[in-house]
């Protein structure tokens, strides 16, 4: 209800020097047989500001996880540059990079897989500190246990093995282990997707709380637009390796500029009694094309009800249509999309 209030950049957000700055990023993977190339991310540019939560939303094949891995320093760009806190990774030596990257961390979707099953929780907690140096083992231990408490877990869990913990507890451990590194940016890749609905809120609150206390920036990646909308300051909508729309959360949710954003919101099933549900919804026809062979022109044209000839032939420009609100669509205007011609109708109205 008070989304508007919360949408104001909170006190930590420093709008001058971005914590991560991505320019014309492309990531290509060779396919297994080496004959083709998967363009997972194609010419994407954005900044993440200190202390903000930058939401990235998209369906499978959108390249959102790949972008996350680039932001965590796990992948080097095939093309374009990524500046971490103003520094280009390519200019650092291997050793320097290893210590530099500590400020850029990642929390993964599967909390179990991110913990080595053969290490105790304490060992997992100690691991990042071992590379920092300057601490004796007693100090590391006490900091590890502090971190454990900080995320709301009992200290005695430290001697257990991951399989003895619940999913939520494991995700807390994953969060706890990066705390001693004082990260500036944490990439959260579908961090609650593997958790039960009833406890997701707990973990998400923890993220919010930590941000408030420590001033971290998050790159929050998810396929669930509702969650992203509820946690992010800004939202980027990705489709087949490209950004479709980028802007402040309220702008994107309330005044979406791109048809795909509208479709994503429409597709979200609404747990409401029939009379309260939106009667007007945009239902997309057809499948998501394969990222191995993305459509030419606008990537979205095969499923877009607004698509015309130009969409098929020409890739739309990435434009700032409203202040801090970018999109790539031939048909949209600063006031939004023109009314849809009759052919689509009210598909979801039933």
């Amino acid at each position: 209800m008070n989304r508007t209030a919360a949408a104001q950049p909170h006190e930590f957000i420093d709008t001058t020097t971005p914590v991560a700055s991505v320019t014309n990023l492309s990531i290509r993977f060779p396919t297994l047989d080496g004959t083709a190339e998967l363009r997972a991310v194609d010419d994407v540019s954005f900044d993440i500001r200190h202390g903000e939560t930058f939401g990235i939303i998209g369906e499978s094949g959108s390249g959102k996880s790949t972008i996350g891995r680039v932001l965590a320093g796990l992948l080097a760009p095939s093309d374009g540059t990524v500046q971490f806190d103003g520094t280009d990774r390519a200019t650092l030596s291997r050793r320097k990079w290893r210590s530099f990257r500590r400020a850029f961390q990642m929390i993964f979707q599967d909390p179990s897989a991110a913990l080595n099953p053969r290490m105790t929780i304490l060992d997992s907690l100690l691991e990042p500190m071992r590379f920092m140096g300057g601490m004796d083992s007693a100090e590391m231990r006490s900091r590890a246990l502090d971190a454990l408490e900080r995320v709301g877990l009992r200290r005695d869990l430290a001697l257990r093995y991951p399989h003895e913990l619940s999913g939520g507890q494991k995700q807390r451990v994953n969060i706890a282990r990066i705390l001693p590194l004082s990260p500036k940016l944490v990439v959260c890749d579908e961090v609650v997707a593997a958790l039960d609905v009833s406890i997701r809120g707990e973990i998400l609150n923890l993220f919010v709380e930590l941000q408030r206390d420590l001033g971290l920036a998050y790159a929050f990646i998810a396929h669930d637009i509702a969650i992203v909308a509820q946690i992010s300051d800004r939202i980027a909508v990705t489709y087949l390796g490209k950004f479709m729309e980028l802007g402040l959360t309220d702008d994107v949710i309330d005044r979406p500029l791109h048809p795909y954003t509208i479709a994503l919101m429409s597709a979200e099933p609404q747990p409401l009694p029939a009379h309260l549900r939106n009667r007007t919804r945009l239902r997309l026809e057809g499948d998501i094309p394969s990222p191995l062979d993305p459509p030419g022109g606008c990537r979205f044209h095969t499923r877009c009800p607004w698509a015309t000839e130009i969409c098929r032939t020409e890739a739309p420009e990435w434009r700032e249509l409203r202040p801090d609100h970018y999109t790539a669509c031939h048909h949209t205007t600063p006031d939004g999309l023109p009314p849809l011609p009759d052919r689509t109708g009210e598909k979801g109205a039933a």
Partner: protein
């Protein structure tokens, strides 16, 4: 709005599902396992007996295994000689017990060599990937398509014929199998999230290999090692049969069979005892290996 939510701590400390059963002590765990898999327990017992035979052959064997008695050659089993005597009048039972040490030594040596050679190579190939992996994989292909016997003859030729050298060559032959296994595991493991997490922390490749990849790759290696023990045992027998293994006058099961074969027509029973000894030991190793595989593989428990 948060009327539903007690403090976060409450949930975090709530009992997990399933409840943590206190880890019992080792003896109890072994007991549990034995009840769970009695056949494997028997197999382990058999191996234990064989190891004891190997270690204390001198004390257990009723006769000196090399003591010859030309007056009692190729005798059938009797009260004096439980399994009869061989072609030089030596006590077959005593030779069988002494042969255990040679055979067990042979199997252990071959598997150790294979592990020492194969595991690092597989780790490096799988973890590094790229052209290093390509080269190592081609090398492994070569070794795997190579007639092992030529290698065995060559190794024993260069280093001298003898059980140790023969099993060294068997170890070299086994190594690619382990290397392949470890490589495949490493390929998977390096994609694991905890490896990526470790990379994020600034871990070096060495750290990741030693702390994350190796410990998680070692389980199938352990299983394969026990299974290779059995194969090593059979290889010892084959090489001794070809005269490349155990050298006289000490007995090994393989050389006993080889010798007995000369007398197949006169005293066919001579072949049975060492053959059955190999069979039982190999069976025991395999059984323990399978049980380990079962016990260590979370997917096989449904």
């Amino acid at each position: 709005m948060n009327d539903m939510s007690p403090p976060a701590d409450a949930s975090a400390t709530a009992p997990t599902t399933p409840p943590r059963v206190d880890r019992p002590g080792l003896p109890l765990r072994i007991l549990h396992w034995m009840i769970d898999d009695p056949i494997a327990a028997i197999a382990l017992l058999v191996l234990l007996v064989i190891f004891i035979c190997a270690l204390f052959a001198d004390q257990i064997a009723p006769y000196d295994p090399t003591l010859q008695d030309y007056a009692a050659m190729l005798n059938p089993p009797s009260a004096m000689h439980l399994l009869g005597t061989d072609d030089l009048g030596r006590d077959v039972f005593s030779r069988l017990i002494h042969g255990a040490s040679a055979s067990v030594y042979a199997a252990v040596l071959a598997v150790t060599v294979a592990t020492v050679l194969g595991v690092p190579v597989g780790l490096i190939a799988g973890y590094t990937g790229g052209w290093i992996d390509q080269i190592i994989s081609r090398l492994l292909d070569t070794f795997l398509s190579f007639p092992a016997i030529v290698l065995a003859i060559a190794v024993t030729g260069v280093l001298g014929i003898g059980l140790t050298n023969a099993m060294l060559s068997v170890g070299i032959v086994f190594a690619p199998q382990l290397a392949r296994l470890v490589r495949a595991r490493a390929l998977v493991l390096k994609q694991e999230l905890y490896v990526e997490a470790s990379q994020c922390f600034g871990a070096s490749s060495g750290w990741i290999l030693m702390r994350h990849v190796l410990p998680n790759a070692i389980q199938p290696v352990l299983v394969q090692m026990t299974l290779l023990m059995a194969v090593g045992l059979l290889a010892e027998a084959s090489l001794s049969f070809l005269g490349l293994g155990m050298q006289p006058p000490d007995p090994s099961w393989g050389s006993m069979i080889a010798r007995a074969y000369v007398y197949a027509q006169i005293a066919p029973a001579q072949m049975y005892a060492p053959g059955i000894a190999i069979l039982i030991t190999a069976l025991a190793f395999n059984t323990v290996g399978e049980s380990l595989r079962e016990a260590l593989d979370p997917t096989s428990r449904t």
